[in-house]
């Protein structure tokens, strides 16, 4: 919540209001009143007489000390008697710069400060918030008119991590208070739902998503419009839209990043999906313990109910839709669509047999449709700007070569041995090299980038060869290269990392997270891990490679869900790109990187 000297005020930004109003102006609707109030609050916040201080307190901000910085800024404002509005925001994506604190003085540019310690916050409050003089030596950049920039500070959009971005799902991330739905609305939010409900039929809405070419961002990249069509065609009156934020993939934090930075776009997206599919209930599914995404999503859901944007007869349209947050315990497999339904029902999250498919028999036995957070986050902009606008971003189809076209953007999480770790949104069609080198600065400390782990542990590894770095971001191009673009996590490893050791770590993860339902996966993962530990200790034999392949084939053939079916990917991809390192371990009894002295792989058998 945004506070002014202890009292809550709500406000919002100016930048992207273009979509708002256009449709609503025709009919004096319920939405006009909400929008007017949102704009009034936003004006008060941005064009009032007090500066606005925003501090990043998402998960990355928290890890870097964002809450300490926030507390120090508040204490300094009080101690120095400086009046200002203070907001917590999510992530701007520039995680390397956290804790990020920014100051917008009335009418002035917005100046971002990086790696702000409590001591730095005190000085920024004194000199910039109170005195009006930006502290150039702490600044990362500014946003605002280029001619009017403060001296000695670069424009933030000139930073390589931002220069090549196209922001759709992340359009508000780091800019608005994620717990304040009015700030979302003042920035164009809910114009799309209002447009759908007042000017479009349910079929129009579905067709707009179809024409956008939007493909599911959870990993399988299935066309969202086609999937929605399965549910829309089911005449049952009690149908569910499920939003999957069970983001267990290590290295992927974009779903949580969206929910902790701009949950309202997902709530609006799931409501539009409900309208298009003639569904009546929605669940947003998050892992217990990830407090920022959970609390902020719950806050905007409650506000949406208060404003008549959820519940009975939304905006007077006659359409009714309910949304709530459902929590799961620690279980990677609960991100699998049928296991997710088991978890929502409160059971052990193990996958179900298919058929029946979720569009026929889903959660609580009712027809259901599961979408990833990112998929739903795009929906409001697709409806507001039209499907064709989204389809024009990304890569075209080339069906003769197995390329179906990937429209829109990729929301990538960069972590590991990379100069600028963070969250970026770039148009599909860019190359890995542009993202990893032009934007993120390559591996730090002059090291050679060696391998990439993409799409979660089951996605396996890619060598950072010239050929692979030239891969364009496209779901089918990645699939054909033997990797998964999937959820968008890219973990970078430099020359110090041993491919065998990382493979062992990935399989240890897969062993730990096997739900235990299918024995080829449950036992297979344990066997693979035993063999990889043996190889890591330089005790492996030639037969171990054959044995691993045999176990992998059984897992693929005998498992209900992707965890077992794709569970051999980490090993097969590592053998494909780094077979020589396995041979060095087995034949020459030699390590091929900084292998930890003690092999660490915790085990778990789910009971």
């Amino acid at each position: 919540m945004t506070t002014t000297a202890g009292t809550e005020i709500a406000g919002t930004e100016i930048a992207g209001t273009e979509a708002a109003g256009a449709e609503a102006a025709e009919t004096e609707s319920q939405f006009d009143g909400i929008l007017a109030e949102a704009n009034r609050r936003w004006e008060a916040l941005t064009a009032g007489d007090a500066p606005w201080v925003r501090v990043g307190t998402g998960l990355a901000g928290e890890a870097a000390g964002g809450f300490e910085t926030l507390a120090a800024a508040r204490a300094a404002l009080d101690a120095q008697g400086v009046k200002a509005n203070v907001s917590e925001v999510g992530t701007l994506g520039l995680c390397f710069a956290e804790p990020l604190l920014d100051v917008q003085t009335p009418g002035g540019p917005r100046v971002f400060y990086q790696n702000v310690t409590p001591e730095m916050a005190e000085r920024i409050v004194a000199e910039h918030v109170g005195g009006g003089n930006p502290v150039a030596e702490y600044a990362l950049g500014y946003l605002g008119e280029r001619e009017a920039g403060p001296e000695g500070i670069a424009h933030l959009d000139d930073h390589p991590m931002r220069a090549l971005e196209t922001r759709i799902a992340l359009r508000n991330a780091g800019h608005i208070d994620p717990s304040d739905i009015y700030q979302y609305i003042a920035n164009g939010g809910y114009a799309a739902l209002n447009k759908a409900l007042t000017a479009m039929t349910q079929d129009d809405t579905l067709n707009e998503v179809r024409s956008s070419g939007l493909r599911g961002r959870g990993g399988a990249a299935f066309p969202a419009g086609v999937k929605w069509g399965f549910l829309a065609g089911n005449p049952d009156p009690d149908k569910y839209i499920l939003c999957n934020c069970e983001e267990g993939d290590p290295g992927a934090f974009n779903d949580r990043g969206i929910l902790e930075s701009d949950p309202a776009t997902v709530v609006e997206g799931i409501t539009i999906a409900g309208y298009a599919c003639r569904a009546n209930r929605g669940y947003i599914f998050i892992r217990h313990g990830h407090n920022q995404p959970i609390d902020r999503t719950r806050a905007v859901i409650a506000q949406a109910y208060e404003l008549g944007l959820l519940g009975e007869n939304i905006l007077g349209s006659g359409f009714s839709f309910d949304v709530e947050v459902a929590l799961t315990g620690d279980s990677y497999v609960s991100g699998e669509e049928t296991a997710l339904m088991e978890a929502i029902e409160g059971k052990r999250s193990m996958p179900r047999f298919r058929p029946p498919f979720p569009a026929q028999v889903g959660v609580f036995g009712q027809p259901s449709n599961i979408n990833n957070v990112k998929t739903l986050a795009y929906v409001p902009e697709i409806i507001a700007r039209g499907g064709q606008w989204f389809a024009d971003i990304g890569t075209p189809a080339d069906r003769d070569n197995g390329i179906n076209g990937s429209s829109g953007t990729a929301i990538l999480c960069l972590s590991g041995a990379i100069t600028y770790p963070g969250l970026v949104e770039v148009p599909l069609g860019m190359t890995l090299r542009q993202v990893l080198f032009d934007m993120a600065g390559g591996a730090p400390n002059g090291k050679r980038m060696k391998l990439l782990q993409t799409g979660g542990p089951l996605g396996g590894v890619l060598s950072a060869s010239d050929e692979n770095l030239d891969l364009v971001l496209d779901f089918d191009v990645f699939r054909m290269a033997g990797a998964i673009l999937g959820s968008g996590g890219i973990i970078v490893a430099d020359e110090d990392t041993c491919a065998v050791d990382l493979t062992r770590n990935l399989i240890a993860f897969c062993q730990y997270e096997s739900c235990g339902k299918c024995f080829p996966c449950r036992m297979g993962m344990s066997h693979l891990l035993e063999i990889l530990e043996r190889i890591s200790r330089l005790e492996g034999t030639e037969e171990d490679l054959t044995l691993m392949r045999s176990v992998g084939e059984n897992m693929q053939a005998g498992s209900l869900c992707g965890h077992g079916q794709l569970g051999f990917n980490p090993v097969s991809s590592a053998l494909r790109y780094f077979g020589d390192e396995f041979e060095a371990h087995i034949r020459e009894k030699r390590h091929t990187g900084d292998c930890p002295e003690q092999v660490f792989s915790p085990r778990l058998t789910r009971r």
Partner: protein, 159 residues
């Protein structure tokens, strides 16, 4: 079990704010309230959900976030997911074990702290990451992990 704890359990199970109440949501509510799942809670959840005690145990034992005896004062979690692994989590885990005089995850002999491995704490850009009493920190080094653990142990009770 004292009456105060029993009341916390009854309230947690009975006063869930969301409209979909399940065995899992009830167990998570108990965990949030008292930090563990005693057998009285299993019985309370079974009664509330019209489920058998067996059904509730089945769910509770599936998810490794639940523990079944009272929590220690401090919960120390270290991530070992691939981002953190690549950035040196193995050394951080060794340091945490050493600082807590443990050889694996679990409770310290004096019952003051618990070490837990975590497959992803969610702040991968700050790898390697640890969490002390649910507060994230990263990137950490073996030395800074040791210092953070020592500071939390000397700060006394949780929160």
């Amino acid at each position: 079990m004292d009456n105060a704890t029993k009341k916390l359990i009854t309230d947690a199970v009975g006063n869930q704010p969301q409209s979909t109440v399940t065995v899992l949501s009830s167990l998570l509510a108990v965990e949030d309230a008292i930090g563990y799942i005693p057998k009285e809670a299993v019985e309370a959840v079974a009664q509330r959900m019209a489920a058998t005690v067996n059904d509730v145990w089945a769910v509770a034992t599936f998810y490794p976030n639940f523990r079944f005896d009272p929590p220690t004062e401090h919960r120390i979690e270290v991530c070992w997911g691939p981002s953190c692994h690549v950035m040196g989590a193995t050394g951080v885990i060794a340091a945490a074990q050493d600082a807590l005089q443990l050889s694996d995850e679990g409770d310290t002999p004096d019952g003051k702290a618990t070490l837990r491995y975590n497959t992803c704490l969610g702040a991968c850009s700050h790898a390697p990451v640890m969490a002390i009493d649910h507060h994230l920190a990263g990137p950490v080094t073996p030395d800074s992990a040791r210092a953070r653990i020592a500071a939390s142990l000397s700060a006394g009770g949780r929160h």
